[in-house]
């Protein structure tokens, strides 16, 4: 009498679309931006310009990859710009004092790790909100950069190896871009395919559950800030190399660029959901917007407005079109 039927099997394709909605959305937007600037400017699609963009973008991309891990744990790192400035200044000072560039770079990566660890300790072991720890860190670290440089921009001289890092090319591709891509791939693999990546997602999704199943939850939270510190150190070195000088004035407003890239890539600020692929596309989108607007000779008074509007639009599209899942044959 009763008719027991099973539900229709879920369509593989739709499930896949749903699972990857965020990345698809930003990919679409990225392609649209590319097309737009290609159509409207002559220079945009030249190899020279594109290589330029990836070289300029390397620091943002590198830090954005690390920031994705941070935001995945439902944290945030507002201090990245200040760490970059500090490393940038320190590196120049060390080299001015006779250290060779390899030693300096290694020391700087260690310094970034230590700074990140210190922030992570307050956040994970002392339980203070990441927002406030890194807000304080932002102020303290740039203060230190200011203090050690006394406002001077410190020239870096005669370090061809170091300059190659920021300005050189390998097989025609800028070294910073290669570095950034390698780091992005590393981040992608770690996030998707390793235990550590799984632990980061778990901690961001439900910290208490992660703790209860025996994950070293506090250490994981702490470690992402360390990763962010290291990424900032690399970015700081690249910037120092490109500018040929170190100054406390570097990377002002950097944190907002990085966070915008991550969020644009579909990573949720509530933690637990995000992807490195999205972040990469998000960062590239922001970069080509900056580049394209200059190529189009948009009045500099308008660039801020236009950039803001475009970002808002991209995220809006991301949320509206893809946010609530695809519905098959449903009108509303």
């Amino acid at each position: 009498m009763a008719n027991y039927t099973e539900r229709a099997k879920q369509s593989q394709f739709v499930e896949w679309l749903n699972d990857n909605a965020q990345v698809l959305s930003i990919a679409l937007f990225f392609v649209a931006c590319m097309g737009f600037f290609w159509a409207l400017t002559d220079t945009f699609m030249t190899t020279g310009n594109l290589l330029n963009v990836v070289r300029q973008g390397a620091p943002v991309l590198i830090v954005a990859v690390a920031m994705t891990f941070v935001i995945m744990t439902a944290g945030i790192d507002l201090a990245v710009g200040s760490i970059v400035a500090l490393i940038n200044a320190l590196a120049a000072i060390l080299m001015a004092n006779g250290f060779d560039w390899v030693t300096t770079s290694l020391m700087m990566v260690a310094a970034g790790a230590i700074v990140g660890l210190a922030q992570g300790w307050f956040i994970s072991f002392q339980g203070i909100a990441a927002f406030i720890v890194t807000l304080a860190g932002m102020s303290i670290l740039r203060g230190i950069a200011l203090y050690i440089t006394e406002g001077y921009s410190i020239p870096i001289k005669d370090q061809p190896g170091f300059f190659w890092l920021g300005r050189g090319t390998l097989a025609g591709i800028p070294v910073p871009a290669i570095l950034a891509v390698l780091i992005a791939i590393l981040g992608f693999i770690i996030m998707r395919n390793t235990r550590y990546g799984r632990q980061v997602v778990a901690v961001g999704s439900n910290l208490e559950a992660a703790r209860r199943v025996g994950m070293p939850a506090r250490w994981i939270v702490c470690s992402v800030y360390m990763a962010s510190g290291i990424a900032c150190a690399i970015a700081g070195l690249l910037i120092a190399s490109r500018l040929g000088s170190g100054s406390s004035n570097a990377a002002v407003g950097f944190e907002m660029q990085v966070i915008a890239a991550v969020v644009l890539g579909g990573t949720s600020l509530m933690g637990g959901r995000g992807s490195i692929l999205g972040t990469t596309l998000g960062a590239l989108t922001i970069l080509i917007i900056g580049n394209g607007l200059i190529l189009m000779h948009v009045s500099p008074f308008l660039t801020q407005i236009v950039t803001g509007v475009i970002i808002l639009l991209a995220v809006w599209m991301n949320t509206r079109l893809f946010g609530s899942g695809f519905k098959l044959g449903k009108k509303g």
């Binding site: 009763a2 098959l328 449903k330």
Partner: protein
């Protein structure tokens, strides 16, 4: 013809008395992404009657009840309240028609105290100001009626035990003169005495003409307070039975689909 036969396909419907149903659902469908949570469900809720909504896990009971309470908007199908077809655009619409619900996830605000949660969305006020004193007094009465002991009514609900939280959610739904009271596994975390209190609450409100929908996996309770049972399977209603005409074994068989 087609109306009736289609309806039969969707599990049939028994009208225990001739009154107009308080709420009546027809061919309700709802899809999440590509997952068909509800595949065409008919249901009538009669005054003064307790309807048990039974089924396996993930059968779609919670989803269906959320449709009745306006929390989910169905993709298609009609909802009538007291014979009149309505379109709920949100929980507010259902609530203003005196349809109350105890949610499976309780829907409490962790940072608000017990009193505040009991009156959530229906705060007593004098002018623009909250009337804290009146709320405190009434809250105590509401909880006493359900035999719930909570040491401090001004404590945040965050730290209360699972059973205490559930009791608060029940007290909230039951205390504001509902015409339809939907309870989604209201006793799952309650201790023996509290379960008794909830069952007698159901009998009390039934006597006042309220239509009760009880979702539960404790079948013995169904036989104590319910008059009719609707059984769901994979997003459809597969059967309806008068409790008086059935027994535990038949119900179990209906739920598991015979396997």
């Amino acid at each position: 013809m087609s109306e009736a036969s289609q309806s039969l396909e969707r599990g049939g419907a028994i009208h225990p008395n001739s009154a107009t149903p308080l709420v009546s659902l027809r061919d309700i469908r709802l899809t999440f992404g590509s997952h068909q949570a509800l595949r065409g469900v008919d249901l009538d809720i009669m005054p003064g009657e307790c309807l048990a909504l039974l089924g396996d896990n993930a059968a779609g009971k919670s989803t269906l009840s959320k449709v009745i309470s306006g929390t989910y908007i169905p993709d298609s199908g009609t909802i009538s309240v007291a014979g009149e077809v309505v379109r709920f655009s949100g929980p507010n619409d259902a609530r203003s028609r005196n349809i109350e619900m105890v949610f499976q996830d309780l829907a409490l605000c962790d940072h608000i105290d017990v009193v505040g949660n009991l009156f959530l969305g229906r705060e007593l006020h004098k002018g623009p100001f909250l009337d804290q004193k009146a709320m405190l007094t009434r809250a105590q009465e509401m909880l006493d009626a359900l035999e719930i002991r909570i040491p401090r009514l001004t404590a945040r609900v965050e730290k209360l035990s699972g059973g205490q939280r559930q009791a608060i959610a029940i007290a909230r739904a039951a205390s504001f003169q509902p015409k339809v009271l939907i309870m989604d596994e209201p006793t799952s975390a309650l201790a023996v005495a509290e379960v008794e209190a909830v069952l007698s609450l159901i009998n009390r409100v039934k006597a006042k003409g309220v239509g009760v929908v009880l979702i539960t996996h404790r079948l013995q309770d169904v036989f104590r307070v319910c008059d009719r049972a609707a059984i769901m399977y994979e997003g459809t209603k597969v059967a309806e039975r008068m409790i008086a005409d059935t027994n535990l074994q038949e119900i179990v068989n209906l739920i598991t689909g015979g396997h």
